[in-house]
């Protein structure tokens, strides 16, 4: 899951992004509204965490501009402004959730996961696909009711596929949601991860659409 964090406080930004990465999120951090708005408008994200008091362009304007551009990514506002008037204004601008500082990181993680799940059209917190089930609140995978051990990259790929189960996920899309911005990414490595996942969950569950991408299915055809 790839998340955009727009937070101008460097220390807090580092703390949040470090904790989110521990939870297998891919995090891009922007420290001002202008860059944040540009990233949110041009890159593919599963969700955005947006501060309101930002340099250059304030958070409410960033959000309004995204919505005006037709960007539907779920946005969680993370701000020190805790009045109900501010909250109402945030939701009016198009926010999907609102968390006030100071906050517990666990709450931010739970809320982010819930946002991503709902944005992918899943009402229940457990998303199942055949023998595979994914607890969106804890991030744990189970295969036939047994815990499934995954590396961070495997987890990112499989969570991305299970959220869009039955639908083809483009290879580029998958790469963007799996790798951090830094470092060179080899498209072949996605193949390698898919191969490893097929060995862990069974060969028939991840189908390859040649030239397009991959699809998670309930029953192997």
């Amino acid at each position: 899951m790839r998340v955009l964090l727009v937070e101008n406080d460097e220390t807090l930004g580092k703390e949040i992004s470090a904790r989110l990465r521990q939870e297998n999120f891919v995090v891009d951090v922007s420290r001002n509204g202008e860059d944040g708005q540009h990233l949110g408008a041009t890159e593919r994200y599963d969700a955005a965490v947006l501060d309101l008091g930002l340099p250059k362009v304030d958070g409410i304007s960033v959000l309004k501009n995204w919505r005006a551009d037709g960007r539907t990514l779920p946005v969680l506002i993370l701000t020190a402004r805790d009045s109900w008037t501010d909250k109402v204004e945030g939701f009016r601008a198009g926010a999907d959730d609102y968390l006030t500082k100071p906050f517990k990181i666990e709450e931010l993680i739970v809320r982010l996961r819930a946002l991503v799940r709902r944005a992918n059209g899943h009402a229940a917190s457990i998303v199942s696909c055949g023998p595979l089930s994914f607890d969106t609140q804890t991030g744990a995978f189970e295969l036939e009711s047994m815990p499934l051990r995954l590396t961070a990259l495997e987890w990112r790929v499989l969570s991305c596929l299970i959220y869009r189960k039955g639908r083809t996920v483009e290879r580029l899309d998958l790469m963007e949601r799996v790798y951090d911005g830094e470092g060179n990414v080899d498209s072949n490595s996605v193949e390698v991860i898919i191969g490893r996942l097929r060995r862990k969950i069974g060969p028939g569950m991840i189908e390859t659409e040649r030239g397009l991408g991959y699809r998670l299915v309930e029953k192997p055809q």
Binding site: R19, A80, D82, K101, I105
Partner: protein, 444 residues
């Protein structure tokens, strides 16, 4: 210690009453003196003509004074009437029929007026019984003798008509004074009415029903009204600046505090984490107090209640998206109240937040208009609370369950804001099974 009354009305009335009193007394004395001169003049005229008549009929026969026949006025014939005349040529004398014996006349000093004009001059005489008599005296020469003729009138002849005139006059003056005092009272009341009006307008500004006092005032008050409006505007600007600064300070502290909170949670130092939480709570508490320290200008009722509640419920639905909470809103669609939108949002937000937080599955918002107030009831089907617990949770920073997210300041902020509008918050058991919070906001 000053004798001046504290009130302006008292001072104006006391000042006016004293001036009216002095004016009436001075008028009474002046008119009395004029009347006295008039009455005395009338009497003197009568006495002088008597003296002249007696002088014309006097003669000296054989060295003795003699009076030829003359018509006498009845007063001079009635014994001891006080109306006497006496012509004296020591040791002989003649006198009127009314006089039984001689009267004593204080011989007046030489008077040049008599010498120049030949007219009678005032003289004081004493009757047989020692009564004071008002007299006139003239010295005439008859048959080579110098005869002094005195005519007197009783003091009552002056005092009685004077008193009769004065008693009527004093009655009229008293009535005039009363009428003037009444007029003064009316004038003071009408004159001070703009001050009372201005005071009412200042009260309206304080209570948030008006933004400023009307500039259209009587000339003497227009300057004061202008200064008051400047003061009100300055006060409002300073309040806004202070609020903004306190909000900025709070917000600027919260971000590093959030970083600190995350760091302390990571290094597993619960005592540091507790300190951070205490700092957070203090910031929240004092920011809340700064927000609810004074009422914003509200003016006429203009806040449409139902859309506000619907939007708040919508926000809380999103904030509680993980839970299935059903809600009903029972509120007249056209209900409008006089309340600042952000104050109302803050009150409703905190109460709805609590209702959503503690509800098992149902929330009901009901708004009713009473004769003098609007009543907002927010009920849920959550935990039942004892009266002691209800009293506890409205205290700032008090929380019943520390594991549920929150800071314990929501209800205290609602209490402060409701009080700002002369209203109140009460908690009771809800028929849905949980808690019902009721805010009562008076119309004005």
């Amino acid at each position: 210690m000053t004798l001046l009354p504290r009130s302006l009305t008292g001072r104006l009335l006391a000042g006016g009453a004293i001036l009216i009193g002095i004016a009436v007394i001075v008028a009474a004395i002046a008119i009395g003196l004029i009347l006295q001169r008039f009455v005395v003049g009338q009497i003197d005229q009568r006495l002088d003509s008597t003296i002249n008549d007696v002088a014309a009929h006097l003669s000296v026969i054989d060295g003795n004074l003699a009076l030829s026949a003359r018509g006498e006025a009845p007063d001079f014939m009635r014994p001891n009437s006080g109306w006497y005349w006496q012509a004296q040529d020591q040791p002989n004398s003649l006198h009127s029929q009314s006089l039984q014996d001689n009267i004593e006349v204080d011989t007046p000093k030489f008077d040049w007026r008599m010498l120049l004009t030949g007219n009678a001059i005032p003289a004081h005489a004493t009757g047989r019984h020692g009564e004071d008599l008002h007299g006139r005296m003239k010295t005439v020469s008859v048959g080579g003798k110098s005869i002094s003729i005195v005519a007197t009138a009783p003091q009552a002849a002056i005092v009685r008509p004077l008193w009769e005139a004065l008693s009527s006059l004093l009655l009229c003056l008293g009535a005039l004074a009363a009428a003037l005092l009444g007029g003064l009272l009316l004038q003071v009341r009408i004159g001070l009415r703009p001050l009372r009006h201005l005071q009412a307008k200042v009260s309206d500004v304080i209570s948030g029903h008006e933004q400023s006092v009307p500039a259209d005032q009587p000339t003497e008050l227009s300057l004061l009204a202008g200064e008051l409006n400047t003061l009100i505007a300055q006060n409002r600007e300073r309040l806004q600046a202070a609020r903004l600064q306190s909000a900025n300070l709070a917000h600027s502290l919260k971000t590093p505090l959030a970083a600190l909170s995350l760091a302390t949670a990571e290094i597993k130092r619960p005592e540091l984490h507790a300190l951070v939480e205490k700092m957070q709570a203090n910031i929240k508490h004092h920011l809340g107090r700064a927000r609810s320290s004074s009422k914003a200008y509200v003016g006429a009722p203009n806040l449409s209640v139902r859309p506000q509640i619907e939007e708040m419920v919508h926000v809380l639905e999103k904030l509680n998206a993980a839970r299935q909470i059903a809600y009903t809103i029972d509120c007249p669609a056209d209900l409008i109240i006089a309340c600042d939108a952000s104050d109302f949002t803050e009150m409703m937000g905190n109460l709805l937040d609590n209702a959503f937080k503690w509800a098992k599955g149902e929330i009901r918002v009901r708004v009713r208009q009473r004769q003098t107030s609007t009543v907002f009831e927010i009920a849920n089907d959550g935990m039942r609370l004892s009266p002691d617990q209800m009293a506890e949770i409205v205290q700032p920073g008090k929380r019943l369950d520390e594991t549920v997210p929150g800071d314990g300041f929501g209800l205290a902020i609602v209490v402060d804001l409701a009080a700002l509008y002369g209203g109140q918050l009460s908690l009771s058991a809800s028929d849905l099974g949980g808690l019902q919070a009721t805010i009562t906001l008076p119309y004005r």
